[in-house]
């Protein structure tokens, strides 16, 4: 999981503005239903949860099932009242948390 998540957040916004955020993480989202070349089931290994916090407060979250496509992509919105930092977290089935931060200036 060396690859950095790709995140699109505007650099600045007006107070009260609803900004659009796009995130993409490189991850196979192994469903647990796929068979390898030898015919054995490949064990499930997915990102089962994704969260977006802003200045420590939860802004958006989701629980994911194997029906989310590989390289999970999310686009959602956040209304901003102040400058601050987004913290994005992806939780893998193996317990690993992948985190990334982005800052935004709100005037």
């Amino acid at each position: 999981m060396a690859e950095k998540p790709r995140i699109k957040v505007p650099k600045e916004a007006k107070k009260g503005e609803v900004v659009e955020i796009k995130t993409l993480l490189a991850h196979p989202m192994e469903s647990g239903l796929r068979k390898d070349d030898a015919g054995a089931l490949v064990p499930r290994k997915i990102i089962n949860r994704f969260t977006c916090e802003f200045n420590g407060a939860l802004a958006f979250a989701c629980e994911l099932e194997p029906a989310i496509a590989a390289n999970p992509y999310f686009q959602f919105t956040v209304r901003l009242e102040e400058s601050g930092t987004f913290r994005f977290t992806w939780i893998d089935d193996d317990g690993t948390a992948i985190m990334a931060d982005e800052t935004i200036t709100v005037a």
């Binding site: 609803v18 900004v19 469903s31 239903l33 796929r34 068979k35 802003f54 407060a57 939860l58 802004a59 958006f60 979250a61 989701c62 629980e63 994911l64 099932e65 194997p66 029906a67 989310i68 496509a69 590989a70 999970p72 992509y73 999310f74 686009q75 959602f76 919105t77 956040v78 209304r79």
Partner: protein, 158 residues
């Protein structure tokens, strides 16, 4: 009825066995693909989300292609009309695909910071099936909408 001869008995047994085998084969062929959830499973996932409450048709837009040639990554956008204020907002949105091996797809959690009850992602669809969206409001009401997608190549198995 004349008592069957030993030979007839044997034939009868054979044909019964053949019929049974045929019947089983046909039943297996007719039975839903084991990789496909039954409608009951989708209903169960929805029932768990709503706590058994009925969901009424609501202001939900499901943006999905009519035909998905490749089921491994089908773009989905869900928009629920809502003022998204602290007192009047959508809190949770469940997405279910009733023909997938596991009908649950995702549950999205919105907050008073969300601004809009809108989310886009890419999902796996196994076959031609319904994508069902259920939204919960802050005051515990449920809205639902569904859309059928025709899938050319399934995106769940091998």
């Amino acid at each position: 009825m004349v008592a069957p001869t030993a030979k007839e008995k044997k034939m009868g047994a054979l044909s019964r066995r053949a019929a049974l085998a045929l019947g089983l084969g046909t039943a297996a062929a007719l039975a839903a693909d084991p990789a496909r959830a039954t409608p009951g499973e989708a209903d169960e996932a929805i029932g768990k989300f709503t706590g058994g409450k009925a969901a009424e048709p609501g202001p939900i837009t499901i943006d999905l292609p009519e035909i998905a040639e490749n089921g491994t990554a089908v773009p989905l956008t869900v928009t629920v009309e809502s003022p998204m204020t602290a007192s009047d907002r959508i809190t949770d949105v469940l997405v279910v695909a009733d023909g997938n091996p596991n009908p649950r797809v995702a549950t999205f959690r919105f907050t008073p910071m969300s601004g809009r009850a809108e989310v886009a992602t890419r999902i796996r669809l196994n076959a031609t099936e319904n994508v069902i969206v259920v939204a919960r409001t802050g005051d515990g009401r449920f809205f639902t909408a569904r859309k059928e997608v025709k899938v050319t190549i399934g995106g769940c198995g091998g």
